[in-house]
Symmetry: C3
Subunit: 144 residues, 3 copies
């Protein structure tokens, strides 16, 4: 059994989903590990991880519209914590409702994602940010 | 350290929870691994995983009622993405708010679930579906 | 590759977040494993895990206020399951919307948390409880 630890940077364009599936698969494919477990850790509390449909852009628009209604922006005393602006506290709440970590089984040096599954970094702040993900891979080279 | 990779099919009866705890435990018990980590991956974006109380059926009814109010069905232009019907987009949102993956420590060849914890596949579509879970087990035969 | 399994008890003071980061780091630091994966499992369905900002107490107050509005307490027939009081069913729903498990990569015998990330046990019941977390650590002593 072997393990790998790696960090990747993701540039976001403000609030919304950034597809990181290809980036994950490329790194995974170069590690010489056929079977194992890939863990992704998001090192932030105002951005998070999400598995979501990768086909229709409408899904992302609907999801964003839902979360914007569910967790409205502040600015008028709605939240105590508005140090960094009206999108600060909503970002923390959105992160709490989604994922900070995902662990995906690996088979044939690829994550076992379903046909319609993509892995996304969800930026919850309105301005662009540089985000860091830690990737941990555990497994072995030989096929099962 | 050894690992195992396995797939199971779960038939759902439409929207609601399907208890998969026994199915997981049976597979786990036959793998000859006493201590380790079991990861469950749901290969869908309109069904998800959930750990929930396994005693009272009222808990499931209340949870379903809560989610139906929180994420109402579409059909009247509420969502852009209604290709597959009014329950299509709500299913993606419900999946985003629950889990696609769970990793449970294993001790004595059993998951370390609490007394009242069951592992459920949550079907979010109104019609029955065949769903696939990938199970990954990492660990060793000897007791600690 | 080695693994460790350990249980810790956390006393809560009723509804709210309890920071368990230091407790996790102390145990991790004593295990002689430099690189690996730490999994935390919460053995309850009315308490859960959360990664959240560790700096401003306002963030915790805002998050709690948000969840109290989103999942109102019962007592007036709002929920079928009110056996243990008006905070019983809301606790199960809050647990479903947050995490029962977290897996954090380990580097230098520490979890790779971001600067502002803390790991919290979220008590969802109004009265104090003793909660149990199972810690599973997989990794190796040598630096990568």
């Amino acid at each position: 059994m072997e393990q790998r630890l790696h960090r990747i940077q993701v540039m976001t364009r403000g609030r919304g989903l950034v597809d990181v599936t290809d980036q994950l698969c490329r790194w995974l494919g170069s590690q010489g590990i056929a079977t194992g477990l890939l863990t992704i850790w998001c090192r932030h509390t105002s951005a998070s991880l999400l598995v979501q449909e990768n086909a229709s852009p409408d899904v992302q628009a609907d999801l964003e519209a839902f979360l914007s209604r569910l967790v409205p922006d502040g600015g008028n005393g709605r939240y105590r914590h508005e140090d960094e602006g009206p999108d600060d506290m909503p970002a923390h709440i959105r992160a709490a409702l989604t994922q900070t970590q995902l662990s995906i089984p690996v088979e044939g040096a690829q994550p076992v994602l379903g046909t319609w599954q993509g892995v996304y970094l969800y930026e919850h702040r309105t301005s662009p940010h540089r985000r860091e993900l830690v990737l941990h891979l555990l497994g072995e080279a030989s096929q099962r």
